[in-house]
């Protein structure tokens, strides 16, 4: 497999979708943190959805990274949902003593979307009182 040096961040309305499909190495995780925080600010995203259904191997670093991303997003006023964690990964994280207390979790992407919509409430549209769009 070609060495991936970036994980794509997809914008879906007011949410960002990050699908981690390669085994994370440390530098990749750091790049992701940079990119994601930048994207949240640029798009004024209200929610972040991290799909880790392809992730088979985790270590404490990845666990901490997930926690950190959630904390950073919260500071930027975006909710984070981690989606599709495999049983083996969940057991490993718990055995490592990382139960990610600040992170929301969901089994499927649909549920995560519902969860995010419920959490952030209806979208706030910027507009003028007279109905015209800002320049």
């Amino acid at each position: 497999m070609a060495d991936v040096d970036r994980i794509p961040i997809i914008k879906m309305g007011e949410f960002l979708l990050v699908s981690i499909q390669v085994d994370m190495h440390d530098r990749l995780a750091m790049t992701l943190q940079d990119d994601l925080t930048a994207s949240i600010v640029r798009h004024q995203a209200r929610g972040v959805l991290i799909d880790i259904s392809s992730l088979e191997i985790v270590d404490s670093f990845i666990g901490r990274m997930l926690g950190n991303i959630a904390a950073m997003s919260r500071v930027l006023d975006a909710e984070t949902v981690v989606v599709g964690m495999r049983p083996a990964v969940a057991i490993t994280l718990v055995e490592l003593g990382m139960s990610l207390p600040g992170v929301r979790t969901a089994l499927t992407v649909e549920r995560a979307m519902d969860m995010l919509r419920a959490a952030v409430g209806p979208a706030v549209h910027m507009g003028r009182v007279d109905g015209s769009q800002p320049e």
Binding site: I91, L107, T108, R111
Partner: protein, 289 residues
């Protein structure tokens, strides 16, 4: 004349086999330890006949000194089968070993008749026969023990699987009734089963019912919390139900923190919460009579 020792035993086994068999079977049948409820006379007769035949062949080819040698394979094989079979049927170890030991009396009696007044030879031959039958008897007991241990190990494994079912209660609601003590090995199995079923069914709530867990100490509580944390990482909420009054007291006295989990006294109460959280209701079709 060491090499000659045991020659008379072999001789008797060969020459007086029929007579020996009759006496042996008779003494087995008369013995108070015989389990007539577990074994038929015909079967016992057949087993004894076969054993004597194999014993005679082995003794004639390889002598009676080394029952571990290849020539004794048929004898050991039969004892193994017989012992395992008896263990399965519920014979005690002594009842199983008596099969071999009861051969002593008829064999010694025939040795006495054959050798007569020559006490040195008689003592020597009796000693050889004694050692031979002791070894075979011990072998029987050993196999019996092995059979029992295998049985216990298998039952242990079966119990581990049987005792950790994950049942689908309702659409999106799983229940995990735990019976028996939770140790690390079981927690692992429970956790894996639960998480696997969450993936399969897409359930969003799991109820862990601990009505059948006799004691909850700090370790058990820790194991429970681990399971809850793992399920939460997968996106499923856990409720703990079936907490008996005694256990509630123990949990508080031990200072176990169960604050992060919703706990309910009964499975029914937990089920109601689960229905509510998943936005479902169950109602009566008609008013109660």
């Amino acid at each position: 004349m060491v090499s000659n020792a045991g020659s008379r035993v072999v001789q008797i086994l060969d020459k007086r086999e029929r007579e020996l068999l009759a006496a042996w079977v008779e003494s087995q049948l008369k013995s108070p330890g015989l389990r007539r409820d577990l074994i038929q006379e015909a079967e016992l007769r057949e087993q004894s006949r076969e054993f004597l035949r194999r014993l005679r062949d082995a003794a004639a080819t390889a002598g009676v000194d080394d029952i571990d040698s290849k020539a004794w394979d048929p004898v050991r094989e039969q004892l193994r089968v017989l012992s395992t079979e008896r263990a399965r049927r519920g014979f005690t170890p002594s009842e199983t070993a008596m099969f071999v030991f009861s051969l002593k009396e008829p064999l010694f009696a025939r040795l006495r008749q054959e050798i007569g007044s020559d006490t040195t030879v008689l003592a020597e031959e009796t000693w050889v026969a004694n050692i031979l039958l002791d070894r075979l008897g011990l072998f029987t007991t050993e196999v019996y023990q092995q059979g029992r241990e295998e049985l216990i190990a298998r039952q242990g494994e079966e119990m581990l699987e049987l005792s950790t079912p994950v049942v689908a209660l309702w659409d999106g609601i799983l229940a995990l009734p735990l019976i028996g003590t939770l140790d690390s090995a079981r927690t692992q199995v429970v956790m894996e089963n639960l998480l696997q079923r969450i993936v399969e069914t897409g359930a969003s709530i799991a109820i862990i019912d601990i009505t059948g867990v006799p004691t909850v100490d700090t370790l058990v509580a820790q194991h429970l919390l681990k399971t809850v944390a793992a399920a939460r990482l997968m996106g499923a909420d856990c409720l703990i139900s079936g907490i008996r009054p005694q256990i509630a007291q123990t949990i508080v006295h031990l200072g176990v923190e169960l604050q992060s989990v919703t706990t309910k006294a009964t499975l029914a109460a937990a089920f109601a919460v689960a229905l509510q959280r998943t936005g479902q209701t169950i109602g009566r079709v008609r008013p109660p009579a």
